[in-house]
Structure formats: structure tokens, C-alpha cells
Amino acid sequence: MITVLLFAELQEATGRERIEVEVNDMSVSELKDWMKRKYSLPQIDRVMTAVNEEYALPTDRVKSGDVVAFIPPVSGG
């Protein structure tokens, strides 16, 4: 099981802050594609991904127990 965290516009688009996904061992880009279809999130294409609080590449693998956060363009400061 993977925990997915959603913030800002993604949180509002889905109405969810946190989603548990019943998959094991997929790539970040496969997970994004799955999220895009399942929650109708075209904007996820321009979103960074963090795995366990570190920025990740599209080819990085996500495994059971990981916490994946989708990071829309940041606007702090």
C-alpha cells in the first residue's frame, strides 16, 4: 500500500488530502497516469513528485510503505 498526499489545487480538485493506493512497485510516472485517469487530474502532468520527502524522478520506483506527495508549482516566500 502506498500513501499519496495531495496539496493546494490537487487537494481541492479531488476533495482529498490523503489517499491510500493498493499497489506495489510502480514508477512515479505510472502512478501519475493512474491518478490522472482515476481522479481526472490533467494538471498532474506539471506537478513534481516527492517520495518519502525527497524530490523524485518519473522513472523512480514506488514501493509499498512509501509516502508519495504530489507537489504543485510552489509559491512560498
Binding site: L5, F7, A8, E9, Q11, E12, R46, M48, A50, E53, E54, Y55, A56, L57, A69, I71, P72, P73, V74, S75, G76, G77
Partner: protein, 155 residues
């Protein structure tokens, strides 16, 4: 690196406290940057802002910026506090303090830090305008990830 140097808070930022964290006998210069809530942006009036953070990762990224700064500018010390939640006009959203024996480094390191905050720290701002609301991202401000700059480091 002292964890308290990098904080995400919900209460008003006390500037003096942030400055105290970097005050040292060997420092002759301390620069600070305060990002405050501006009333007008591109002709639209802001009523208030809402900041959200992915808190544990945001603190990690602030600490990473601190390491970058102290690597690039010898003998500097930096502290950063970012506030989240509901902010009104003129409230301080972020405070950065840098101390250094000499002033040039203190200015440069401080400006570098705010640029990096705007690139890699997972914090989001929702503008509540007079006539609507929007999460601010690259569609309205500058591109947030120029040249894919969040420096993804491989373990």
C-alpha cells in the same frame, strides 16, 4: 545543523527571534528579508492569503537551502521561518536572517535563499481576491521550476 534554525509556524513571526538565532560575536553584518502580504498584485486587490505547507518536507528543504548557503558563502549562518495559515495584508509570510563577518556575503546569501525558497520548498499560497480565489502557481507567477531546478539528489 540546528533544526530550530528552519521553522514552519502558524503564529505571527517575531523578527527579533529570527535575528537572534544568527547573531554571533564574529558577525559584523546581518541581513534580513521579510516577505509581506501585498495588497495589490497586477491590478487585483488581495483580501487575505492562505498558505499551506507539506510541513516535514518544507523544513527539510529549508535546511537544505541552509546547507547550500553555508557551502557557497563561507562563515555565514542562516535562519528561515515561514508562516502558514491565514495571513492579512502586511503580515510577514517569511523571514530570512543571514549573519556574516562581512556584508557582501550577507546580502548575496540572503537573496539566494529567497530565490531557492520560491523554487524548492513545498509551500503554496492561495490568493483570496476581492473577486475570487486562486492557488498561485506557475500559471500566474513565474515558472516555479526553471530548468528543473529542484536539484533532485539521488541517494
Amino acid at each position: 545543523m540546528d533544526k530550530k534554525l528552519f521553522e514552519i509556524v502558524e503564529d505571527p513571526i517575531q523578527m527579533e527571534e529570527v535575528i537572534e538565532k544568527v547573531t554571533r560575536r564574529e558577525a559584523g553584518a546581518i541581513t534580513t528579508f521579510l516577505g509581506t502580504v501585498r495588497e495589490w498584485t497586477n491590478g487585483r486587490k488581495t483580501i487575505y492569503l492562505e498558505y499551506q505547507a507539506y510541513k516535514p518536507m518544507a523544513i527539510k528543504m529549508l535546511a537544505q537551502i541552509g546547507e547550500e548557503v553555508e557551502g557557497k558563502w563561507k562563515d555565514t549562518k542562516i535562519a528561515i521561518t515561514h508562516r502558514i495559515g491565514h495571513l492579512h495584508i502586511s503580515d510577514i509570510a517569511v523571514a530570512i536572517a543571514v549573519s556574516s563577518p562581512h556584508r557582501k556575503a550577507a546580502y548575496e546569501a540572503n537573496e539566494y535563499a529567497i530565490e531557492r525558497i520560491k523554487q524548492i520548498v513545498p509551500i503554496w499560497k492561495k490568493e483570496h481576491w476581492e473577486d475570487g480565489e486562486t492557488w498561485i502557481g506557475d500559471q500566474l507567477e513565474k515558472i516555479s521550476y526553471p530548468n528543473g531546478s529542484p536539484n533532485i539528489e539521488r541517494g
